[in-house]
């Protein structure tokens, strides 16, 4: 598999994880005996997709990122690595924890316990928020590499 495909799978699974969390949130607003299984399935899907995004992105970061890192740091947007990538790679660990929490929260007694539903809402919202931050950060890092290549061509 080419490294470009690996790189594209990382944000793709991230988006799927975000969408599954939105699904969890919406279903939990209308929790009943009939949709509890969907809430739990969507929560498991969200966690699975975020873990896949982490493993694939982590593999790409460890194996392939060094060349891009050098390029970005020498280009006009060095902050795309020094601030954005450095923050992203460590913030992702919090996202991973909350994504793992989401199915645990979804398996509580949501129909009866308000506190359990509240935890699902906030966990899902955190996954959505952090996920969007990760997607945006990835776009900035990609642009950092692009402007560095353009600067090389112009030079």
């Amino acid at each position: 598999m080419s490294k470009e495909i690996i790189l594209m799978l990382h944000p793709a699974f991230g988006v799927l994880g975000i969408l599954a969390s939105v699904w969890v949130f919406a279903e939990t607003l209308n929790v009943s005996a009939t949709n509890t299984i969907r809430i739990r399935a969507a929560a498991l899907l969200s966690a699975g997709f975020i873990w896949l995004a982490y493993i694939i992105g982590g593999y790409w970061y460890v194996v392939f990122y060094a060349a891009d890192k050098a390029l970005i740091k020498a280009g006009p947007w060095p902050f795309a690595h020094s601030l954005v990538m450095e923050s992203k790679e460590h913030l992702f660990l919090s996202l991973l924890l909350v994504a793992t929490l989401l199915p645990l929260a979804a398996f509580a007694n949501l129909q009866v316990r308000k506190s359990a539903r509240q935890l699902v809402y906030w966990s899902a919202l955190t996954v959505i928020g952090l996920g969007l931050v990760m997607e945006g950060s990835g776009a900035i890092i990609g642009l950092g590499a692009k402007v560095a290549l353009l600067a090389q061509q112009a030079g």
Binding site: S87, L91, S94, L104, A105, V112, K114, W122, T126, L130
Partner: protein
């Protein structure tokens, strides 16, 4: 109506029925996620400011410091959750504590990381 069961519980809608393992563990892991996020951010500062010792050890341990960092976080996540489930009373009925720790911890951890690399 789907929410009939909710309104029939206590005034706060918190306590009703048997407390299951998931009812108890979920808030414990929520607290742990918040606390681990802060500890993880502090580990970022620690390793980045001690490149010859801590960062070098983290690289040597697994081949990449980020992998070691992830493993440490996962161990902390499980251990802190187990401790919270064991020692914090009535976790399942304290959403303010658990959600506050979760959101506050993730926010503080994020601010430490962004502040460290941004300043």
């Amino acid at each position: 109506m789907a929410h009939t069961a909710h309104s029939s519980s206590s005034g706060a809608g918190l306590s009703s029925g048997t407390v299951t393992t998931a009812d108890r563990l979920a808030p414990a892991f929520a607290m742990s996620a918040g606390i681990t996020s802060v500890l993880s951010a502090l580990l970022v500062v620690l390793k980045e400011t001690n490149e010859d010792t801590i960062l070098a050890w983290m690289k040597a341990a697994t081949g990449h410091h980020w992998v070691t960092h992830g493993i440490i976080d996962l161990i902390l996540f499980v251990v802190i959750a187990m401790l919270a489930a064991r020692y914090v009373d009535n976790l399942e009925d304290r959403p303010g504590l658990t959600i506050g720790t979760l959101i506050g911890g993730v926010a503080v951890g994020g601010l430490i990381i962004v502040g460290f690399f941004g300043l």
